[in-house]
Assembly symmetry: C2
Homo-oligomer: 311 residues x 2
């Protein structure tokens, strides 16, 4: 039996039909039409389900959504960039398609996919950390997604690592997200560029047309001291949050995705060194968390949503 | 069938016989004799088991131990204040008594007890935070103790909340433990006393014979401004770490034990207010973590160890 997974994003709704092995058989996509309101979003999801149905009846339909969702009630509790607040998405999709969809947070379902068929395949436990505009996190312990009592758990990005530090979108100050997101890296890069007129980061940014998450890494690879300092500072904060995650969960796998994670070993090698140095009991325990890159790319959102429906 | 639970501490080895309902039927205790080495500790544990046996055969024996343990191998990985490093305690106890003991970290088994028959009875998930010399933590999710891939998980006390802050016993700087333990509260109290010669904290400390975790709370209740500032500062850091715990696990119950937790509502009321203000999505989610006091006292260590053997 096959399952349908839907990744509801701010720009597009992506969907895929997944077989029992977690492989995508076919995909489709539609624009999200956030500006037309909640019912238009539900219309788009229903249309996407019909696009992908092709006469087939699915074992279930799962949907990953940004923000906070409640899979028990079927409600999107709050997804600000979609304009959804206390919206009963399960009811809306049931009325349009007959399917009672399962709901998950997008970062959580992505972690479910990586744990099942990606970077954490076969592992005891997997934490996925997405270093993008924000820091999205999902935790899968012995095959089970951590969602907590409220359905909203695993918000590791909103763990304060610097009391009273940089303001975060969540209202707190000093969150992991405010130091480890691509947004934070760009902030650090801009600050360093303003203070170092002669840094190679200026040339790199000009060539790419903008300051982005790659600017400091690229200039650092050319030996630019100010850029090396930005990378060092970014890795320091990232290591602080990742070591927290290791000390809290002692997972087998910590897998990274998102724009900054594309740096691969330029990011992971210094990060591993710092986390190993700081982890609790690191000198004595025989097993350590492995820090790796995610392997499924954007498909993790689709596959994870389908796996949620399969569970 | 009854089970035997043992709480191995730095001063005493406490044991109890527990029935299926998690009630203690009888208790006994022996000194730990840390100074005589690992085998003497094992001798003490074996003697305690015989003390409590009284002709009965137990369904199992569980033991809670400070530091890092590996229940898979039966080894105490490192428990510095007991002088145990890579010590095969299961083998040692098996040789002396015939019982293959189950091993847990002491804070983790205490949380297991509180979750099963204490503050978290009937709850979806329980986090226990012990505010003593250090900050001990245990996490129980849907009845299951979080121990991770290495067996050493739930070290929430060693989550950095202030990058580069106060040095912690674990080697990191700025850990939750370095701000929320009784030790940290005493440090804050001493600093404030040194800066405020006229504070009522001096009189309170003289009366009690020492500066301790109660000094600032007692003086604050008398309206002493410097003491109020200490309590405010302590609660600020405690709330920062507890909000992190809430955002990570979204547990139903967060239960506090240890010396500082004896302040009860004087601690919990301002803490609840601050955590509710800071928690992720707090204005939208319908269910919130309840912050309460633990109910089992020192018996949680014994009961939890026995429950581990029963699992």
């Amino acid at each position: 039996m096959n399952y349908l997974g839907i990744d509801l994003g701010g720009t597009n709704i992506k969907g895929g039909v997944i077989n029992e092995a977690g492989e995508i058989l076919r995909e489709a996509s539609r624009p999200t039409r956030v500006e037309d309101g909640a019912d238009a979003i539900a219309d788009g999801i229903a249309a996407l389900i019909r696009d992908l149905e092709q006469g087939e009846t699915f074992g279930g339909v799962g949907l990953g959504c940004p923000g906070t969702v409640d899979d028990e009630s079927g409600e999107v509790v709050c997804a600000f960039n979609l304009g959804l607040i206390h919206y009963d998405l399960r009811l809306a999709i049931k009325a349009r398609t007959g399917y009672a969809i399962r709901l998950g947070n997008d970062a959580n379902v992505a972690a479910l996919a990586e744990a099942a068929v990606g970077a954490g395949k076969g592992a005891h436990s997997t934490v996925v950390i997405t270093l993008g505009t924000g820091v999205g996190c999902g935790v899968v312990l012995e095959g089970k997604m951590l969602t907590g009592y409220t359905g909203a758990a695993s918000e590791l990005g909103h763990m304060v690592i610097e009391e009273g530090g940089e303001p975060c979108t969540c209202g707190r100050k000093g969150c992991f997200e405010a130091y480890a997101s691509a947004t934070a890296l760009i902030r650090m890069t801009r600050d360093a560029m303003a203070a170092n007129a002669g840094s190679a980061m200026h040339a790199v940014a000009r060539e790419n047309g903008a300051v982005d998450g790659r600017t400091a890494f690229t200039a650092a690879q050319c030996g630019d001291a100010a850029a090396e300092e930005v990378v060092h500072e970014y890795v320091k904060y990232l290591a602080s949050g990742v070591t927290n995650v290791v000390n809290i969960f002692f997972p087998e796998i910590v897998a990274f995705s998102g724009g900054v994670a594309n740096q691969g070993e330029a990011l992971l090698a210094p990060l591993r060194e710092e986390v190993r140095r700081q982890e609790f009991g690191g000198a004595y325990v025989k097993r350590h968390a492995k820090l790796v890159s995610c392997t499924l790319g954007y498909q993790s959102g689709i596959i994870g949503a389908a796996l949620l429906a399969k569970a």
